[in-house]
């Protein structure tokens, strides 16, 4: 099976400091679901930044969609990024855009016409329960609502990889479950999903999901043979 992401001995260093990520080698396959866990400061967000091409690593090799992502010319990055959906930990909604416009943003960037995008965006608004708040700006939304908008924006373009940083951190358990079901549904359609979370209970909710555990910038299983959660031992950790 061809991989969607391959990390080979990847290291990331900010400035002249110590390495934030060290010797990461793993492979992500299409249609797989991964949970990424680890203590605060373990490097989860940095690893996600490498995955959604916000940073280039300091060393090592990364292949995405079968191509070398490190030597990729800058003008080809947008094409790759359009294949990746991102849910940011701090949501990063555009403050002066409405809920509708925030969700429609990736489609507009991809050049989808207004006529074509109206239906999917309206459907997504209904799915996250924010149809009534379609015209509201982020400042008018609660933390949980903002998070749902951020998730809707990330998945609206049916990305090949979905990267989510603590996507259920600000929503109630019921909504967290619904969002996870959305991720699982996307996953069934072939999207590779990587969810960074502190909430180890979520690991039990997605059948067949694999776990990547980061510890001080290193994968706890450096061979990359990711294990199937949940296991009592992991839950206790």
């Amino acid at each position: 099976m061809q991989s969607v992401v391959e990390f080979d001995n990847v290291g990331l260093r900010y400035g002249t400091g110590a390495e934030t990520l060290t010797d990461l080698s793993f492979t992500l396959f299409p249609g797989s679901f991964y949970f990424m866990t680890g203590a605060s400061g373990a490097g989860k967000t940095s690893l996600l930044k490498l995955l959604y091409l916000a940073h280039r690593p300091s060393r090592g090799a990364i292949r995405m969609f079968g191509q070398d992502a490190i030597t990729l010319p800058r003008n080809r990055l947008p094409g790759f990024r359009r294949r990746i959906g991102v849910v940011f930990q701090d949501f990063r909604l555009v403050p002066h855009l409405s809920t509708f416009d925030n969700i429609a943003l990736p489609l507009r960037i991809a050049g989808i016409s207004e006529r074509e995008l109206r239906g999917p965006v309206t459907e997504m608004l209904a799915w996250i329960g924010l149809t009534e708040r379609a015209d509201a700006r982020p400042a008018m939304l609660s933390g949980g609502e903002q998070q749902r908008v951020a998730i809707a924006r990330a998945v609206i373009g049916r990305p090949e990889i979905l990267v989510a940083d603590e996507p259920t951190g600000n929503v109630d358990p019921e909504m967290a479950l619904r969002l996870l079901q959305l991720f699982a549904a996307l996953n069934k359609l072939g999207t590779t999903v990587v969810v960074a979370t502190h909430d180890i209970h979520l690991l039990q909710e997605v059948e067949g999901a694999q776990m990547m555990q980061l510890d001080k910038g290193r994968l706890s299983d450096p061979t990359g043979s990711l294990r199937h959660p949940p296991k009592p031992l992991i839950l206790k950790n």
């Binding site: 002066h96 507009r108 960037i109 207004e114």
Partner: protein
């Protein structure tokens, strides 16, 4: 690139367009007001210099030095007749003694002129083109056969310092015009950088979702174009008001002092094009500024 100005309404919302709230349109209006006034002054000078220069460079005054008034009148008549037949002379106008005295009165005074001071006889001629040194030489030698003490004064020679001054002023106007354009470009670059910093978060999000540098640059180009057009319109109206007012003042002034000094009609077309050119320049500056700034992002 100018077609990038037309963006769909939803794209325009990505960078809020607070056109009248920011200082940018008003700074551009002031810069363009000054630019247009300098351009108008330059165009007026250039037009006056060209028209006056063409006219004066073809004029020559023939002086006949003769103390005897009767002989002087005869020679003037003879020179006039001769010049009317001379090839290349388009008009000949003998200046009467009364006119010559009028010209000299402010310099020599009435008393001296009344004391029968000999004054030269003058004949103004106009040639079909500015005379070269050889044309003047041949004219002079031909005239000396009729009047040996004849002198030729081409008007271009005594107007030369004045036209040199005009040229210096034209260069000065051109330099100030260019400096103002440079200053306007600098204002645009600073404003775009400031807006880029304000909306860095939005641009980063666009980038991470696969937005290209050109897509981001278009947002800024549009914003800058609207600011520049608004500023240009205000600047043009203000400059036009000043020019029309000044034009009326000039028209009311002593005509002989300012004859030939008027803003040419084609100048209005040039002035109207300047705000549009500045808008295009501003869009270009915005595009390069944004794209070069974004290249520093991954």
């Amino acid at each position: 690139m100018l077609l990038d100005f037309a963006l769909p309404a939803h794209d325009r919302k990505l960078i809020p367009e607070g056109r009248l709230s920011g200082p940018m349109p008003w700074v551009i209006a002031i810069m363009l007001f000054l630019t247009l006034l300098v351009a108008a002054a330059g165009l007026t000078l250039a037009d006056a210099a060209q028209k006056g220069g063409q006219d004066l460079s073809r004029q020559v005054t023939v002086q006949i030095i003769e103390t005897d008034p009767v002989e002087r009148a005869n020679k003037r008549a003879e020179v006039t007749r001769y010049l009317r037949k001379f090839d290349g002379v388009t008009s000949v106008k003998p200046v009467s003694d009364t006119e010559v005295r009028k010209l000299l009165e402010p310099v020599l005074g009435v008393d001296i002129l009344d004391a029968d001071v000999p004054v030269p006889a003058l004949v103004d001629i106009r040639l079909n083109q500015a005379p070269s040194a050889s044309t003047l030489g041949s004219l002079r030698s031909s005239l000396r056969r009729v009047a040996p003490d004849v002198r030729l004064d081409p008007h271009s020679s005594w107007m030369a310092p004045f036209y040199r001054l005009m040229n210096v002023l034209l260069w000065l106007a051109g330099t100030v015009f260019l400096l103002l354009l440079v200053a306007t470009s600098a204002v645009v670059i600073l404003a775009v950088r400031s807006t880029l910093n304000t909306h860095r978060g939005t641009i980063e999000i666009m980038h991470l979702m696969g937005g290209t540098d050109v897509q981001a640059a278009r947002l800024f180009q549009r914003r800058v174009a609207l600011d520049a057009l608004l500023g240009g319109f205000v600047g043009f109206c203000a400059a036009a008001f000043i020019m029309v007012t000044l034009g009326n003042q000039f028209a009311a002034a002593e005509p002989s002092l300012l004859s030939g000094v008027a803003f040419p009609l084609y100048g209005w077309v040039i002035l109207a094009l300047i705000p549009l050119a500045v808008t295009a320049l501003a869009m270009l500056m915005a595009r390069f500024t944004v794209i070069s700034a974004l290249k520093k992002m991954l």
